[in-house]
C-alpha cells in the first residue's frame, strides 16, 4: 500500500467501532435538549419575535432560500419540535429518518437566530455538527434503534413478522470496527479543527505573525472590556489587572492560541494528540471566558470535544473490566484452600 493511501486511511478512513459515533449522537442530543430549554428558549424566541423587522438580515441558509421572518406561533412550534427531536436523537430512535430532519432543523433554527443583527460564532460548530451526525450511522449501537432491531430480528427468526424493521436501518456490533464508522467521526473532528484554523488564518491574514506578539490580543481584551463596561454594565474585574501583566505573558498566550488553532487538524493523524488538544482547547475557552466574559458554552462544558474522545477504547476497557469482575468470584471458588 502506498504511503499516501496509508496516510489517508489513518487520518480520514480509520476503522472504528460504532461506539464513538453513538456517544457523539447521545451527547449532542442531550446537550441540545438541556442547553436550549428554559431561559435560552425564552431568549431565543424573544429575540426572533420581538425585535424590529428593520434588524432582520438573513444569513446562510435563511438567505439562500429567501426565508421571511416567521410568526411567533410557527417559530415556537419549530423550536419545541427541535427540543423533542433532541431527546429522540439522543436516545437514537428512528435515526435514519429523525437524524437528517433534526440536522436540518438545528441548522435552520440556529441560522435564523443569527439573522437578527449579530452573528454568534459560538454556534458555528453546533450547527454543522448537527447535520453531520444526523447523516451518519450514529444509532447502529447503544441506541433504541439497535435494541429494536435486535428485538424484531429475534421475532422474525421465531416466525413472527418483523414490522418496521426496514425503517430502522442497520445494527452494528459495538466491538467490531469498520471504516464506515470511522470516517464520519474524522469528518466531524476535521470540521471542528478547521473551524479553529479559519480563526487563525483570519488573524494571520490581518497581521501576519505580528498577532503572536500579543498586542492585538490585548487590544481585543480592551475593546471587549469597554463594551462590557459601557453597554452591559461592567467589565470583568480582571481586565484592569491584565493591562499590568508583563508583555511576555500576552506574547505566550497569543502565540500559544494561534499555534493551537492553526495546527488543530493535526489531531487527525494521531489520536493521542487529541488529549493535548482537549486540554489546550478547554484552557483557551476558559481563558477567553475569564478574561473577556465571552461564553463559548458548548466548548466550556467540553461537549465540543466529545468527538475527540477514544470512546471505543474506553468501551473496550469497560467490557474487559466487566468480564474480569464476572470471572473473579469463580476463580476464587476454584482456588485451592
Amino acid at each position: 500500500m502506498s504511503l499516501v493511501r496509508r496516510l489517508i486511511d489513518r487520518a480520514l478512513l480509520p476503522e472504528r467501532t460504532p461506539v464513538p459515533l453513538a456517544m457523539i449522537r447521545f451527547f449532542f442530543g442531550a446537550w441540545m435538549a438541556w442547553a436550549y430549554s428554559g431561559r435560552v428558549r425564552t431568549g431565543f424566541l424573544r429575540t426572533c419575535t420581538q425585535t424590529s423587522l428593520d434588524h432582520f438580515e438573513p444569513v446562510g441558509v435563511v438567505n439562500w432560500f429567501g426565508v421571511e421572518p416567521l410568526s411567533e406561533a410557527m417559530l415556537t412550534g419549530w423550536y419545541d419540535a427541535m427540543l423533542v427531536l433532541s431527546v429522540l436523537f439522543a436516545i437514537g430512535l428512528w435515526h435514519r429518518i429523525i437524524g437528517p430532519l433534526y440536522g436540518v432543523l438545528v441548522l435552520f433554527l440556529l441560522t435564523y437566530r443569527n439573522c437578527w443583527g449579530f452573528v454568534y460564532h459560538t454556534d458555528n460548530i453546533l450547527a454543522m455538527q448537527a447535520v453531520l451526525v444526523g447523516l451518519s450511522p450514529a444509532s447502529d449501537a447503544l441506541s433504541v434503534d439497535s435494541w429494536l432491531i435486535a428485538h424484531l430480528e429475534r421475532r422474525k427468526a421465531a416466525g413472527h413478522r418483523g414490522w418496521g424493521l426496514d425503517l430502522l436501518g442497520t445494527r452494528g456490533d459495538p466491538t467490531v470496527a469498520h471504516w464506515k464508522y470511522g470516517w464520519p467521526v474524522q469528518l466531524i473532528v476535521l470540521m471542528i479543527t478547521l473551524t479553529y484554523s479559519v480563526a487563525a488564518i483570519a488573524k494571520l491574514g490581518a497581521q501576519g505573525l505580528q498577532w503572536g506578539t500579543g498586542h492585538n490580543l490585548l487590544g481585543h481584551i480592551g475593546l471587549n472590556g469597554l463594551w462590557y463596561e459601557f453597554i452591559a454594565g461592567d467589565a470583568k474585574p480582571i481586565t484592569g489587572q491584565i493591562f499590568e501583566w508583563p508583555m511576555w505573558v500576552m506574547n505566550v498566550l497569543a502565540a500559544g492560541s494561534l499555534g493551537l488553532e492553526l495546527f488543530a487538524p493535526l489531531v487527525l493523524l494521531d489520536r493521542r494528540l487529541a488529549v493535548l488538544f482537549i486540554l489546550a482547547g478547554l484552557g483557551l475557552h476558559w481563558g477567553i471566558y475569564m478574561t473577556m466574559g465571552i461564553p463559548f458554552v458548548y466548548h466550556l462544558h467540553g461537549y465540543v470535544y466529545v468527538p475527540f474522545v477514544p470512546w471505543d477504547w474506553l468501551y473496550d476497557g469497560w467490557r474487559r473490566f466487566q468480564a474480569w469482575r464476572a470471572r473473579a468470584p469463580a476463580d476464587d471458588e476454584t482456588a485451592p484452600s
Binding site: 434588524h55 450511522p137 470516517w183 483570519a202 488573524k203 481585543h220 480592551g222 469597554l226 459601557f230
Partner: protein
C-alpha cells in the same frame, strides 16, 4: 445516508466539507456572502481580521439626572437580544445616518419615562444621549484616564415628564 457511501464517496464528502469550512478564510468573504458580510455557520471571523488601535471608538447610551450625574444605560434598554446585538445595532444605526440613533434615543427615553420597577436605579434620569466616545482601554482600565478622550453626542432626548430641552450636538 453516509453509510451508503463507498470510500471514494466518503473522501469526496470530506473534501467538500473541509473546503466549505476553509473557503471564506482562503478565498474571501464573498464566497459565502455576495455582499461580503459575515455569515453562519461558515464564517471568515471578521473580528480577527482587523488591527485594534491604541484608542477605540464606541457608541453607547448615557443618561443624566438634574444634577448632571451620568448613568450608563445598558443594552437591555434598546434591544431584545444580547450585549453583542446591542452594540452591533448601535454601530449599524450610526453608519446608516438615517435618524435611527435618534429613534433609539427616544425609545430609551420613553422607557425611562414609564418609571418601571426594573429600571429603579435610573428613575432620576431626565435626559438621554447616544454618544460616540473615544477611549484608551489601557489607560481606562488602569485608572490613568477614566474619562473619554473625546465624546460626540449623536442624539439627545428628554425623558418624558422631565423639564429638559430637546436637541442634539457635540461637546
Amino acid at each position: 445516508m453516509f453509510d451508503r457511501l463507498g470510500r471514494t464517496g466518503a473522501l469526496i464528502v470530506i473534501l467538500v466539507v473541509g473546503a466549505a469550512v476553509l473557503a471564506p478564510a482562503l478565498w474571501g468573504a464573498r464566497v459565502i456572502s455576495p455582499k461580503g458580510r459575515d455569515s453562519f455557520p461558515l464564517s471568515w471571523y471578521p473580528m480577527f481580521s482587523r488591527e485594534i488601535k491604541e484608542t477605540i471608538l464606541i457608541h453607547h447610551v448615557v443618561g443624566f439626572d438634574s444634577e448632571g450625574n451620568e448613568y450608563r444605560l445598558p443594552y437591555t434598554m434598546f434591544t431584545k437580544g444580547g450585549m453583542n446585538e446591542g452594540r452591533a445595532r448601535l454601530n449599524r444605526m450610526a453608519r446608516a445616518r438615517s435618524g435611527k440613533l435618534r429613534a433609539t434615543c427616544k425609545t430609551v427615553a420613553g422607557r425611562l419615562g414609564q418609571k418601571l420597577e426594573r429600571d429603579r436605579e435610573y428613575h432620576a434620569v431626565e435626559r438621554v444621549e447616544v454618544v460616540l466616545s473615544r477611549y484608551n482601554p489601557r489607560k481606562y482600565f488602569t485608572g490613568e484616564e477614566p474619562d473619554a478622550i473625546r465624546r460626540t453626542v449623536k442624539a439627545r432626548c428628554p425623558v418624558p415628564g422631565g423639564a429638559v430641552r430637546d436637541g442634539g450636538g457635540s461637546r
